[in-house]
Amino acid sequence: MTAPALEPWEVFRQEKDGDPMRHGGSVMAPDAELAVHYARELFGRRQESIRLWVVRRADIHDLADPDLLQPPLDRSFKKPGGYVMREKLAAAREQSGQEKPQAKSR
């Protein structure tokens, strides 16, 4: 057995019962056991966490493709709030030369 190389591990932590697991940061370690120990040292030894998840970074499936995640066409009608009107209203106002109505003072 030769000494294994260090690799990065991502650490997720839960602060209190019912909270979601949130990304805390990463540690370098040669294997899962030491990665868990180092995660404990950096993200859990001051009672700041009640649970840690430690994931080998290489095991994470990464998706950062803008064609898939940031489609160029307006799909705001798919959102629960419906169309985003701000830009369309601004364009209509500009065409008709109207000022943006001010909020009425009471």
Binding site: H37, Y38, E41, L42
Partner: protein, 261 residues
């Protein structure tokens, strides 16, 4: 059941004082020695981990010195007991008298010490001296992680052939003969067993410790620590290396005796 220090019988009180002094000095000296790795450990994450272990031990020493100050009740506080003694007045085990050495020495020393210490703490878990029992319950929760962590390194060094294994074996040859000094008999310990302060005497503690570590030593094909030579001086007659360490850890305190920090 003894709920507070003044209720201890005089003979038991002396024995308990020496037990607390032995435990506190052990934690203090290993804590200070391991803190010497801060900044120079083999990798950054381990630097943090080792420093945190060292800090834990100093915290344990402080809690034990505080209890000792209550038991002895001679006007000295925890800091006075920790720092205001000459080197020959310290009562830690000879295992902790070795110089820092290399990383294998640090891991071997910690493995031998932490496994022995956990056997000692287990025998105090049901102590009739309530303040000690309550403190031991807290110490055991932190020491559990210490054993887990050092065991990982111990196994990795032992099973990585070449330099890591060679250095670990050399460290065990240096430290092994003094390993069982942590569990060497203390004066009047029979009085403590009779009073239910500690559940068993030191020969039984050492037997339990050997049974505990033997499977790992067998599996990793490492030499088991031999019996201690000169057990009577297991906690006295300290080394030159300890005198140097003492010179460092008392230097600030000695620079301005009586100062309020």
């Amino acid at each position: 059941m003894t709920t507070s220090s003044p209720d201890l019988l005089p003979a038991t009180r002396n024995a308990v004082s020496l037990l607390l002094l032995a435990m506190a000095d052990d934690e203090f000296v290993i804590g200070f020695s391991d803190s010497e790795w801060t900044g120079i450990a083999p990798m950054l994450e381990e630097d943090v981990a080792m420093s945190s272990l060292a800090q834990d031990e100093l915290g344990h020493a402080q809690a034990l010195y505080r209890l000792l100050a209550e038991v002895v009740d001679d006007g000295r506080d925890a800091d006075a007991i920790a720092y205001d003694r000459p080197p020959e007045g310290y009562y830690h085990a000879r295992l902790l008298d070795h110089p820092r050495g290399d990383w294998a020495d640090a891991i071997a020393r910690r493995f031998l010490y932490d496994t022995a210490d956990s056997v000692r703490l287990e025998a105090l878990a049901e102590s009739s001296f309530v303040p000690l029992r309550e403190l031991v319950a807290k110490l055991r929760r932190e020491e559990r992680y210490h054993v887990m962590h050092v065991s990982l390194w111990f196994e990795r060094l032992a099973s990585t052939h070449g330099e890591p294994r060679r250095r670990l074996i050399e460290a065990l040859e240096r430290l092994g003969p003094d390993a069982a000094t942590v569990l060497a008999p203390l004066p009047n310990e029979l009085a403590m067993v009779m009073a239910g302060i500690v559940s068993v005497a030191s020969p039984e503690l050492e037997a339990r410790w050997r049974a505990e570590i033997e499977p790992a030593f067998d599996r990793l094909d490492l030499p088991m620590p031999p019996a201690v030579a000169e057990p009577d001086s297991a906690r006295t007659a300290h080394s030159e290396a300890f005198r140097r360490l003492w010179g460092e850890f008392t230097s600030v305190r000695r620079a301005e005796p009586g100062a309020t920090w």
